[in-house]
Amino acid sequence: MTSSMFFNVATIAYLISMIVFFAFLAGKNKSIGFAGSLIAYAGLAVHTLAIGLRWKESYDMGVGHAPMSNLYESIVFFAWTIVLLFAYIDLKYKYRIIGAFVIPFALLGMAWAQLGMNTGIEPLVPALQSNWLLYHVITCFLGYAAFAVACGISIMYLIKAALECNDSSAQAGGLMSMFPPLKVLDDLNYRAIMIGFPLLTLGIITGAAWANYAWGTYWSWDPKETWSLIVWFVYAAFLHARFTRGWVGKRAAWLSVIGFAATIFCYLGVNLFLSGLHSYGGGAK
């Protein structure tokens, strides 16, 4: 399959992009940062092509369906949405250095998918044969990706806050000068969650609508459903906490990291440790 080869190319592009971003962090050379972004975009383009090809290949095999039906395909799509959102933030807010903390998430996902998982295209089992699959998966993963970006930004915030607190004068000129100001990081964190929260809400709603259409219950407190609601509660708390004093900055950054940890548990932990309706086929080899 050619799509598999393109996925490998995208993975390598993300690896190089990450290394270049690290070099940017250390060397503070603007053209290196530009190169990091360019390589990430090239990876994104190849990645997009690969997803399209895999879609086409499934039709060639006679089991045509959108490539979002099992753990492998979902991870690949997740990585794609993360890089897509990075591109959006890079182009809109011009804080390229965020790539050093966001691209690693995409790389981690792609590397795990390409190296540790069964990449075969499988036909859809009856439960997944619905257009809702597409709406549900796209909204959920765009939301997850926004939370991943928010988490990366929050980690930057926490590092910068900790270093500035320890030794303001010596560090200020060093590594930290590349980081956007704390206020900007805090604001970007909020903005990323502002994108993620409505998308997660849409993801939960489309999931409920689908469940109602397939089983006659829009909500059955299945572990996956419950965890998505837990994630929703955490980010709802984050949004409300911003209106009271003292919950911006560090606390907000921690809440964002906790929120993303809950997101990852909702996505992977539930399948690995708990049982439920979302048992995506055989993931690991």
Partner: protein, 454 residues
């Protein structure tokens, strides 16, 4: 006395209005919800009961951990959450309405200093002329202003999407609407299950707690079938159902195909394809035995687990039969049976015979060729049954929530003031959210403003 009472009421009111309570509830709901994802819910599996200590089991049961989402304390949390939502909205909505209906037409000195977005030009024409041209300018660039005269100054006020301040309250309302939908569903709806054997009909379904619920009509299962992919994975479970009223098929509800993700709804009751199986009780399986040397084939009928003796004394026992052999014999498909054949004076032999692969049956090279002809066993279809009159209220709530979130996050109340005083005119701007995006819009307007020659 009266004052303490009042202050008590006020304390309670303030408690339910507080954002701290909201945060406490959101975090409590998140944390307690984890319990139900770790512990089994509803009917406990016997293996679980066997491995947990009796005291733990007792404590967990007392605390409602095994049905925690319906436990008194979880429901209480949800009620307090609703009260919190309602109180907050009652407290803050009047302010927001006032803000929208009675906008700040006149910008005081202190407010002027608070806004970072501002520009100034000098004007030389008469005030009346300035007023006209600047009002026209604002109307063309932003939105038509309201003009107020105050302390010898003219205040031109214009705004956009003032109602976007209501977005948050739309989201809050939507949560309550969803709760109402869920309550309607649990009070006047039900969930059930029914299995129907091919060719038979039912008029009741089994509720969650084992009770029989009459449907008021009959559902007949005409046929059930399963398709498989070449890999052996299931492709489609298909029931052909007919709704009967007084024993007669209802027009439009005859021979309806019901598959997973394509349910059948009649009179508010929906049937979802859920499981299937073979109603094997008392069914016969047919086997044809043909001598390889030629001669008349012998047809036998046998029950699963039973044996039949052929005319030559050979004993044939049917061990098991299946309608789809793929998972047991890779490379083959369709109905098949596993039989044990004991020829007179020989040891028993066990093998599989197929319905769709006669050449495989012949390949065995024995003096007798066995072929499987199928069974008169019928399939049954398992259907989830649901009646939920509240579901449309839930969808209404969801729609409201999406609209509300969009307004709350992506729209903002934008205001521009233009103050004309002797010799100069100043412009001020403010947005309720996303100040950065508004700044760009303001800058464009302000630039044109500074080009004005009045």
């Amino acid at each position: 006395m009266a004052t303490t009472e009042r202050s008590f009421v006020e304390t309670v009111w303030d408690f339910f209005c507080s954002l701290k309570l909201t945060l406490f509830l959101l975090i409590s709901l998140a944390l307690t919800s984890i319990i139900g994802t770790v512990l089994p819910q509803g009917q406990l599996p016997p293996e679980y009961v066997a491995q947990i200590s009796p005291t733990k089991l007792q404590i967990y049961t007392k605390l409602g951990f095994f049905d925690m989402y319906h436990s008194w304390w979880f429901i209480s949390l949800l009620y307090i959450f609703s009260l919190n939502l309602i109180s907050c909205s009652i407290k803050r909505l009047p302010h927001v309405f006032k803000f929208v209906s009675e906008p700040t037409l006149v910008l005081t000195e202190s407010a002027r200093n608070a806004y970072s977005l501002r520009r100034e030009i000098s004007v030389s024409g008469p005030t009346e002329k300035c007023r006209e041209s600047l009002a026209a300018f604002l109307g063309a660039e932003f939105s038509s202003p309201v003009v107020t005269e105050h302390n010898g100054e003219l205040h031109l006020f214009s705004q956009k999407s003032a109602w976007s301040r209501l977005g948050v309250y739309v989201v809050h309302l939507s949560i309550l609407v969803i709760f109402v939908g869920a309550i309607i569903g649990s009070l006047s709806g039900y969930k059930g299950f029914v299995s129907i054997v091919e060719g038979t009909s039912i008029n009741t379904v089994e509720g969650r707690n084992g009770n029989q619920i009459p449907l008021g009509f009959e559902v007949l299962c005409e046929k059930f079938s399963v398709d498989f992919y070449a890999t052996g994975a299931p492709k489609e479970f298909r029931s052909i159902l007919t709704v009967l009223e007084n024993g007669k098929p209802v027009p439009g509800y005859s021979q309806v195909k019901v598959i997973v993700n394509h349910p059948l709804t009649y009179k508010g009751i929906t049937f979802y394809q859920s499981s299937y199986g073979q109603a094997s009780e008392g069914s016969e399986h047919y086997i044809t035995v043909t001598p390889r040397s030629g001669g008349a084939p012998e047809k036998i009928a046998v029950h699963e687990g039973a044996a039949v003796t052929l005319s030559d004394g050979t004993m044939v026992k049917l061990l098991e039969a299946t309608q789809e052999v793929r998972q047991f014999a890779p490379g083959f498909s369709g109905p098949a049976a596993r039989i044990e054949v004991t020829r007179k004076g020989a040891t028993p032999q066990t093998f599989i015979i197929f319905k769709d692969f006669p050449e495989m049956n012949a390949q065995r090279g024995d003096a007798l060729i066995f072929g499987y002809d199928g069974t008169n066993a019928r399939m049954y279809t398992g259907l989830q049954v649901a009646k939920d009159p509240g579901v449309w209220v839930v969808w209404l709530g969801c729609t409201l929530m999406v609209i509300g979130l969009y307004i709350a996050f992506f729209m903002s109340h934008k205001r521009i003031w233009l103050i004309i005083s002797k010799g100069h005119a100043r412009i001020y701007g403010n947005a309720s959210k996303n100040q950065a995006a508004f700044e760009m819009q303001f800058d464009t307007i302000a630039e044109k403003f500074q080009q004005l020659k009045i």
